[in-house]
């Protein structure tokens, strides 16, 4: 017998969500969604959640299980059973609950729409179809698999503190078009995506890769957009300057010059940004934590320089 601790919420009846326990024998081979369905059908018909295809295609049934977003129809219930015989089920994070496990996806869709999730083709209209080679399609194959279930959005560490971040799903969707050989607005797209709240606000926590039930894995798609943004010369922001400074430092000495990178990231002419670096600089100076002023190279740095050159970097 397993105990499903399900977060309940009905704003018409309670001010705050609460947990309710449902005991259920998990039938062999059943998914988490099968169990939630059984609870609804046999114990409490008022339990509210989204579901449809039961085949990990529609993306409706994502919930949090034991604190992490999962697609309920894709997860074997028994695999979630904790040592104490419970499974904790909550609505997705970073979105407001509407009722029980159903959350308001409005900000999620707003952000998807913000990245213009449609092809903006080149002006030269071909006589027949716009063809893509298998190699060209490979660049957008992974992001095309997104089923917009919201699992990545739910567990994104940046969204927990900053609503302005576009978030992993919208950025993965953006890569779907940034990387599309048929799209004619690449520069415009990466310029917009380099604004605050865009690609450079991703904190590398990897939660989106871990929660994604498909190969879309947004963090890696975000990095692909970053590479395009840098290649297209969209450098006028801290994220791009940071990446360029990083590369420059490694090319020069094989390692990071931590005194130079913060300054180059905010930009030599960004007085406000430079002033903001003063408190941390002073604190570190007082504790003798400032990295060595004379920046030493690694042994055999010539080989590192050679590799940069060989790859045209």
């Amino acid at each position: 017998m397993a105990t499903f601790k399900i977060k309940r919420y009905n704003p018409e009846k309670q001010a705050e969500p609460y947990f309710e326990d449902f005991d259920l024998d998990i039938p062999a081979g059943s998914t988490l969604l099968d169990c939630i369905n059984l609870i609804k059908w046999t114990q409490d018909g008022s339990l509210t959640y989204r579901m449809s295809c039961r085949s990990a295609i529609c993306g409706s049934c994502a919930v949090k299980a034991n604190g992490h977003a999962v697609l309920a129809c894709q997860k074997q219930a028994a695999s979630l059973l904790k040592k104490d015989g419970t499974i904790q089920i909550e609505p997705l994070g970073n979105m407001k609950p509407i009722k029980d496990l159903a959350v308001d996806f409005t900000p999620f869709w707003d952000k998807i729409n913000k990245v213009k999730p449609y092809l903006q083709t080149h002006d030269n209209v071909p006589e027949k179809e716009r063809k893509q080679s298998p190699e060209q399609f490979k660049l957008i194959d992974d992001s095309s698999t997104c089923i917009m279930c919201g699992a990545c959005y739910s567990d994104c560490n940046v969204l927990e503190v900053d609503d302005n971040f576009l978030g992993p799903a919208a950025l993965a969707k953006a890569q779907r078009f940034v990387g599309d050989s048929r799209d004619g607005k690449t520069l415009e797209r990466v310029t917009e995506l380099s604004e605050p709240g865009g690609i450079w606000d991703c904190t590398h926590c990897g939660e989106c890769v871990e929660r994604c039930p498909k190969p879309a894995e947004p963090f890696y798609r975000i990095k692909e957009i970053m590479a395009v943004a840098l290649e297209q010369g969209v450098h006028n922001n801290n994220g791009a300057r940071h990446a360029l400074s990083f590369a420059k430092s490694i090319k020069h000495s094989g390692r990071l010059n931590e005194n130079q990178i913060p300054v180059e990231s905010v930009g030599y002419f960004n007085i406000k940004g430079l002033i903001e670096l003063i408190p941390i600089g002073l604190r570190m100076l007082l504790k003798r934590k400032i990295p060595p002023i004379i920046h030493k190279s690694i042994d055999d740095v010539q080989d590192v320089k050679r590799i940069f050159k060989e790859l045209d970097q």
Binding site: D201, F246, R255, L256, K287, D299, V304, F308
Partner: protein, 294 residues
């Protein structure tokens, strides 16, 4: 035990106390670390923003150096660990890519085989049967009564396929080490979260709020200190702590230690020998607590 030590850049720069304490911990445990002086920066997941193949080539060069030394490679930074594992995965999963990478390395006299050297974080060489036995054998001053909160660092946990922890969503390796050292582990929800450091230059407010939430969580869970296996986490949690306090308008402070510092304390080294006086947040309460516990 003998390993090739991939020091990473930050332990040579802004957190030199990590390098000092790593040497002491190794000395106390009788582990031999051979420093990889010609290994380049792992790229910290940032170099690959510019060019993925460039980052992979430099890291494959690092692996080739460890292979030539005939040693497993040990990292003392969660970010280095995760980034190196990602390169290893990229290369191992694609034989054509491996050929291309080796072609690039060839002129420098390096070849990456892929079977001769494993990549392990310092925590993961200790959180093994052999490591635990060694810790228990070498401890001189058990950290009795010290309540320690682990802060893992994202890159050693996610993606889970690249992690050495059995259950990266609920890891126990660091806490097992704390117990072996005689300390009391504190479990709190933020221990597997992001410290926010990667965006401190891009979105400082969000970055410091992430760090602040984790610190509040650790404090409210009753921890005396936070211990991390990642010097980048250390920078955000320690060096920025005064700014975090100001931003969250909360008066608190909690010392942040590097894992090798905690290990070396139990091996009998003094806080001074481990450069614990070079932290931004005072570590004196740890010393007091240990003195009080005898």
């Amino acid at each position: 035990m003998k390993f090739a030590l991939f020091t990473g850049c930050v332990s040579q720069g802004a957190t030199r106390e990590l390098m000092v304490s790593t040497r002491k911990a190794a000395e106390g445990l009788g582990i031999e670390f051979v420093e990889m002086k010609s290994a380049a920066c792992c790229g910290a997941g940032v170099l690959s923003e510019k060019s993925a193949i460039l980052a992979d080539a430099l890291n494959a060069r690092t692996f080739a150096i460890a292979e030539k030394q005939g040693l497993d490679l040990v990292t003392i930074c969660s970010t280095c660990q995760g980034v190196l594992k990602k390169t290893e995965c990229n290369i191992k999963s694609d034989p054509e890519y491996k050929k291309k990478i080796n072609h690039i390395l060839n002129e420098g006299g390096h070849q990456y085989d892929g079977t001769k050297s494993r990549i392990k974080h310092f925590a993961n060489i200790l959180a093994t049967e052999e490591g635990m036995k060694l810790l228990k054998e070498k401890i001189k001053k058990p950290l009795t009564g010290l309540k320690v909160a682990a802060f893992y660092g994202c890159y050693v946990l996610r993606p889970s396929g690249l992690s050495d922890y059995e259950n990266p969503d609920d890891p126990t390796g660091m806490e097992e080490i704390f117990e072996a050292l005689g300390a009391t582990p504190v479990y709190y929800p933020s221990r597997t979260k992001c410290c926010g450091f990667p965006i401190v230059m891009m979105n400082k407010k969000a970055s410091l709020e992430m760090a602040g939430n984790a610190l509040v969580d650790a404090i409210e869970s009753g921890a005396d200190c936070v211990v991390t296996g990642c010097p980048l986490c250390h920078l955000n949690l320690d060096s920025y702590q005064p700014e975090i306090e100001k931003m969250l308008q909360k008066k608190y402070s909690i010392p942040i230690l590097h894992l090798p510092q905690l290990v070396a304390l139990a091996l009998g080294y003094t806080p001074k020998e481990l450069d614990m006086d070079k932290h931004i947040v005072s570590t004196s309460r740890i010393k007091r607590k240990l003195v009080a516990a005898g």
